[in-house]
Amino acid sequence: MRNAKFKKRLGGDTMKRTNTWKKIVSVLLTVVICITIVGCGSSSQSGSSSGDSESNTVSTDGSGETYKDEIHIALNAAPPTLDLNNTTATVARQVAKGSIFEGLVTLTDDYGYAPELAESIDTNDDYTEYVYHLREGVKFHNGQEMKAEDVVASLNHWLDCYQDASDMVGGARFEAVDDYTVKINPTKSAMFFNELMAITSQGPIVFPASSLDSIDPETGLLTEYIGTGPYKFEEWAEDQYILLTKYDEYLPYGTQGELDGWSGYKEAYASKVYYDIVPDGATRVAGLQSGEYDFGMVLPNDNYDLFSSDEYTVYKDVTEQPGLIYNKKQGLATNQTLRQAINTALDMDQVMQAGYTSSDFYRLDSSYMFKEQASWYCTEGSDNYNVADTDKAKELLKEAGYNGETFRIIVSSDYSTFYNAAIMVESQLEAIGMDVELIVSDWATFLSNRADETAYDAFITSFDPVLTPTMFLPLSPTWAGWLDDEFIISGLDEINTATNMDDAVAKWAEVQKYCYDTYMPYSKFGDAFNYSVAGPNCKEVKYLMGPCAWNMKVVE
């Protein structure tokens, strides 16, 4: 009996503890489930995820449509800095140029230039004087009015940062004539100075003279980004986003509704623009499809078909021309005949297909200047482009005295297009009997190797469109590749100092022909496109080498 009671009490105590434990576990599980459901449920209430933050609707164009107040553009890389004077990174320009910073002139749709902060420009006949009459009443983001002293300070800083610009004007400097006029007197004819100022990369920007005090002594870069554009720099959350906010005191120019390239009447429909930093291509694609991003930059070629429906708008841009640049300073490629042999062997269609997967993303074209740049486009020398003649290549190789030495090509694995093209180049050169070594590394190591003339015989990279042939890097004696041909150097100098366009264009045709027929500094593969996509709600996106945040309307 006592045992039975003992057992019953023991069992009863055990039962009580068990019931208590069960209650605790049940409560905990319920709480966890509730949190998960509420957390998930809150997304469906707000619709797309980009609507989680504040999103007041605004209608500014009188059409009755309401637009999102906050837009998200997915960038494919993080800019190293927004100091455009000191970086050639495309993403830096895409974020800051035209939105935060403006220049005296800017780029038009036909790759020409148009006045922006300058109201008008006077030039003398021999291009040794440029006078810029500034627009009055333009305010910087700090509320200060833009005056000549600010323009002079900004542009002279640009000349200090950009050697090519300083060379073009022969060391001349900007001066203030009065509060709203600046001028520069190049020491030699500089017909393409305005084109240089409108360039896409490392172009001049105007900021308050006081911004020069913000330059970091360690890096030499601006640390405050104050411009005159329709958007002002608000915040940079590292590796997350760059936030621009509408500048209410922006002074537009031109005719409302008219844009020509990056110039024209700019309006900021959204009060916040988030440039989300999304390096992974698949993430950008998924984000665009789910509505997380309104615009996705540089999407993977393999996903092109996902955006073939009408709800998306695809922007295809000719963005680069990849090619094989020879080391003319040291090594095997100093032999001009060898360079001709290699160029003759290459089947550019196969190389471009290897790199860019589909003919939707490339075209074969011999011109160093893009077809879209009508003034400079020419086909001189095209007989020696895409020759793909292995027999002739072998003859030239023999003539060059090639004895089976290893031909070293450096390429970066960070760019799959270049790497894949390099594999094809390697196999084509091996087919004509060359011993080729591909040296593959990450981008930072590639840049380091490229600066060392003993490390390679050729490298693969690509070039953005430039406004004049004199800016074309493979023809620069100071850039990797180390061009050292007197005919080309003097020819480019003649172009730079020409006083009329016809002479300049004629000279360029001669130079390009010489490059293909004789000197062969560079074997161009072709022209490549990339594509970016606007989401279903994006209306009226102005696109020129990247979306323009101004005038972008995203419907709610």
Partner: protein, 315 residues
């Protein structure tokens, strides 16, 4: 116990020095430098050299190391070339998302793995046991990036229930914070769940076969009490070990998952820093992770003592 803790903390010092030298040499002897990355592809050699001089990259490597290590002890952990703020601020900004993600992933893993492992152990050989084994193998086998991509496709693109990517800090609201971390946490947590489930099952199986468990069963102890009070507590040690290592693994930065979901955590930071040769950041992260590793291992050892009083750490 105190002696043991102090001794373990002191171990950090030699670990710190060895790692500092190794990581410093590895980074600085690797080709490439931040000056070229900042200036871009088109920069002239003269400009690059000028910037290298300004940044002090031309000093002898020993001088650079001494400058850095002395600064480190004075609280100056260096400056990022690409990011603003002190190193501590940068690291803190990036550690927060990783810590949140790690805790969330681990919690999700534990919520499923402990009960599942227990059920599998208790019903060994049954359909439930087999099903749970399949689940745990699935979790261990499937790469987290593949899981992540599938989840994004289903939950974000097709069903639009959860965001595809991005991160909202906790200051934006706890629920929003959790929402953005849910898919990455599931991607990461699945593998940890698989591991912990298997460890729980095997640890419990060993204990459930012990004589004292059979005695308690014979005495009529309720199965729930038998499992969770008697058996589970004794099986905890190996489970705690796995949980500890899982946490360290998660904190070191789930690079691929952070990349897919665009979470600005430690993993992304270290990859970006390596790509652009942000030396000071790489050095600081590696040191911090090494120290965290040592500290978490210490905590795991201390937890052993709490979970099992028979463990004497100071012997």
């Amino acid at each position: 116990m105190k002696k043991y803790i102090i001794k373990r903390i002191l171990y950090i010092i030699p670990v710190f020095f060895v790692i500092s030298v190794v990581v410093f040499l590895l980074i600085h002897l690797t080709p490439g430098d931040p000056a070229r990355i900042i200036l871009g592809d088109r920069a002239t050699e003269a400009k690059v050299l000028e910037l290298r001089e300004t940044m002090g990259l031309n000093k002898p490597i020993v001088v650079q190391y001494v400058d850095w290590i002395c600064g480190f002890f004075k609280g100056d952990w260096g400056q990022s070339v690409f990011m603003k703020g002190t190193m501590q601020e940068i690291l803190l900004e990036h550690i927060k998302p990783t810590v949140s993600l790690s805790i969330y992933a681990l919690l999700l893993a534990l919520i499923f793995s402990i009960p599942l492992g227990t059920i599998a152990a208790k019903h060994r050989g049954s359909m439930a046991d087999h099903a749970i084994s399949v689940f745990s193998m699935f979790g261990i086998s499937i790469p987290s990036f593949l899981m992540g991509l599938l989840l994004v496709l289903l939950m974000a693109v097709k069903l639009n229930i959860l965001p595809s990517s991005g991160y909202k800090p906790i200051e934006s609201g706890l629920l929003l914070h959790i929402k953005y971390l849910t898919l990455p946490a599931i991607s990461l947590g699945l593998m940890e769940a698989g591991l912990i489930t298997r460890m729980t099952r095997s640890a419990l199986l060993e204990v459930l076969n012990a004589d004292y468990i059979k005695m308690a069963k014979a005495k009529g102890v309720h199965p729930f009490v038998l499992t969770f009070k008697h058996a589970f507590r004794n099986a905890l040690l190996p489970i705690i070990t796995v949980i500890g290592y899982s946490f360290i693994d998660l904190l070191s930065g789930a690079v691929v998952v952070e990349s897919i979901f665009n979470i600005p955590g430690v993993g992304q930071l270290i990859i970006n820093s390596i790509v652009r040769r942000d030396y000071q950041v790489i050095q600081a992260i590696v040191l911090v992770i090494a120290i965290m590793n040592v500290v978490i291992n210490l905590l795991v050892d201390l937890i052993y003592g709490i979970a099992d009083p028979r463990v004497r750490l100071d012997k």
